[in-house]
Amino acid sequence: MNRVSSRKLKLAQREAFTAYAFVALWIGGFLVFTLGPMIASLYFSFTDYNIVDPPAWIGVKNYVDLFDDPRFWQSIKVTLYFASLALPLGLLFSFLLAIMLNQGVLGERVWRTIYFLPSIITGVAVGLLWVRLFNPQLGLINAVLREIGIRGPGWLHDPQWAVPALVIISLWGVGQTMIIYLAGLQGIPTDLYDAATVDGASRIQRFIYVTIPMISPVIFYNLVLGLISTFQYFTIVYTLTGNAAGDPARSTLFYNLYLYQNAFRFLDMGYASAMAWVLFVIILALTLLVFRSSAYWVHYEGQLKR
């Protein structure tokens, strides 16, 4: 009896050892590429550091400076402005697309492929394409507007219109979000709809009382992801404006762009680290906010009724 349990213990130890051995690569990577750098970056954020000279401790000066830095506030303003347009519109368009693609219309697969295609080719090539489509004189977009009698704005050359132009580009790539919605819609049990139909619910009522509550976790998920990615928006703006300055007139100075400028243009690593930590706190706070508020509007299947 005693021997058996000690053998069992030995087996359990061996199993635990095997488990740790397999995840060791990740633990090592976590220590070297995540935890270590996190601590270092927190330390750097309290120093004046330009890589060449050793970091000099300056306390909370970087954070105080950030607070007084008009460009920092501009970068927050630009990011939030973009998010306030791109997120709701993106969520709406991708949701509508997913609903239309869930009705069993002819050639559904083809449509799905077409709408998803732009999210495969994100990056520099897309930026270089759109900067030309938005060209005020030669671009396709203003040419089409001219055709219907509208004088198009200067888009990326006009501080007023640069962010809306970026929003349009982001809407072009709603296919990825659409696919996630589509999976959510297809996951709704059909007996819920059947039950609603038997109870005499109309198409619109079924949508409001079955589809929306059942899909709300997916809306929530997409919203959190969208918020996080907006604060890290970079490649498209950099390619469209050709540098990290946020042209024209800092109207596209996104948070991540300004961080990049400080770190890799001005080599102000301490200041940039402070920005990175502020970013981390912002993302955590926004995510928590969305999580907290979700209790009021997100419906999880299997959740107990209160």
């Binding site: 359990a12 697309l97 495969i120 090539a125 270089l128 396709l140 055709e147 981390f280 995510t287």
Partner: protein, 368 residues
């Protein structure tokens, strides 16, 4: 269909059974018709949206085949059209289809006169001038393709070097990612150990961490050990697993029955052999999915190559293309040619693996 229709009113109750049946039939018929109209409407909307979605890509293809003048004069046409010119008295003049004395002929516009009048001549017989309203005539154009844009563009920058670097980063990184994530996902899905769940939560929580927080110290670290301006910072970290792919693989490994492991164990297989001979062959769809995601991500990534690669011979396609654009901005045709070449591999891979792809997006949602 509305609520009142579904609840039978007293009046309907009194109808003879047959009448009620035909009414029921009619109601189903009207629902079908309503469905058909709705589906038609949706198809129409989807088609309109698809045209808008595809236009930028078609424009890119078209621009890559035009010359500078075609882009400047006819930016709206998706067909690479060019106004037809004809030689009159040693000068190139635009050719029109004109109507003279009720007869349709081709004539060149050689001079403009006030009030929209132009002087037209027959190229064969330039002495005989016709005064005609320009607006009423049809200017002739023809399709003119410039496939040489591609060859010209590719010689202007070392795109072969960029391609090689991109392939190295993409495929070595993919190998490292598949290797490390398989091992780690196997560890997280198959064994009991104290604290393993906490470790897994820790792994998941790293998804929330913006990469800017770790990027600066990593840059410092890599520059101290001389890795900046080499491909190593883009490849080596992939050998230490990442949260997205471990999560996706673990979810898949969990669906493989444990009884298969046990059978192999009884036959004397060690855990590594179980992973290699039992788990990985069954997990092929998941491995292909994360592999494809990694390809798309690494192929398109601009941020980290921009930060870590400083000299031209180390650049990847994304950085090289951006710099090519900075130097040759006005050569839209050549930039679009290279851009098109760059988006073709991801598109091909997407079409080859569409089902896996869309399923994977659903599971991971984030990467790509």
């Amino acid at each position: 269909m509305s609520v009142s229709e579904a609840t039978p009113s007293p009046k309907q109750e009194q109808l003879p059974a047959v009448g009620r049946l035909t009414q029921e039939k009619r109601r189903v018929g009207s629902v079908r018709r309503e469905n058909l109209v709705l589906k038609g409407l949706i198809s129409l909307l989807l088609a309109a949206g698809a045209v808008i979605i595809m236009t930028p890509i078609l424009w890119m293809i078209s621009a890559s085949l035009k010359d500078v003048n075609q882009i400047r004069q006819r930016s709206m046409t998706l067909l690479p059209l060019k106004y037809t010119l004809v030689e009159v008295n040693g000068e190139q003049e635009p050719l029109y289809q004109v109507t003279v004395d009720g007869e349709t002929r081709q004539m060149a516009l050689i001079r403009n006169r006030p009030e929209g009048i132009g002087i037209f001549v027959d190229p064969q017989n330039p002495q005989e001038e016709h005064l005609l309203k320009i607006d009423e005539q049809l200017q002739l154009e023809h399709v003119e393709l410039h496939p040489e844009n591609y060859a010209n563009a590719l010689t202007k920058a070392p795109f072969d070097t960029y391609l090689l670097n991109t392939l190295l980063v993409t495929f070595l990184g993919m190998a490292g990612m598949l290797f490390s994530c398989s091992l780690v996902a196997y560890g997280f899905s198959r064994f009991r150990a104290p604290g393993i769940n906490i470790l897994f939560l820790l792994l998941l929580s790293t998804i929330m961490l913006p990469r800017q927080v770790t990027l600066i110290p990593l840059y410092v670290l890599f520059s101290k050990i001389g890795w900046v301006n080499s491909l190593l910072p883009l490849i080596v970290p992939q050998f230490f697993a990442n949260a997205y792919d471990v999560f996706l693989l673990r979810q898949f490994f969990m669906t493989i029955p444990l009884s298969m492991d046990d059978a192999a164990r009884i036959d004397g297989a060690n855990p590594l052999q179980v992973l290699w001979y039992i788990i990985l062959p069954q997990a092929r769809p998941a491995l292909v999915a994360v592999g494809i995601f990694h390809f798309i991500y690494a192929w398109n990534d601009f941020y980290e190559p921009l930060i870590f690669l400083h000299s031209q011979e180390k650049w990847t396609l994304a950085v090289g293309l951006q710099s090519f654009n900075a130097v040759y901005t006005i050569n839209t045709h050549e930039i679009m040619a290279v851009s098109l070449l760059m988006i073709i591999p991801p598109i091909i891979i997407f079409f080859l693996s569409q089902r896996i792809f869309t399923q994977g997006v659903v599971i991971s949602g984030v990467k790509g």
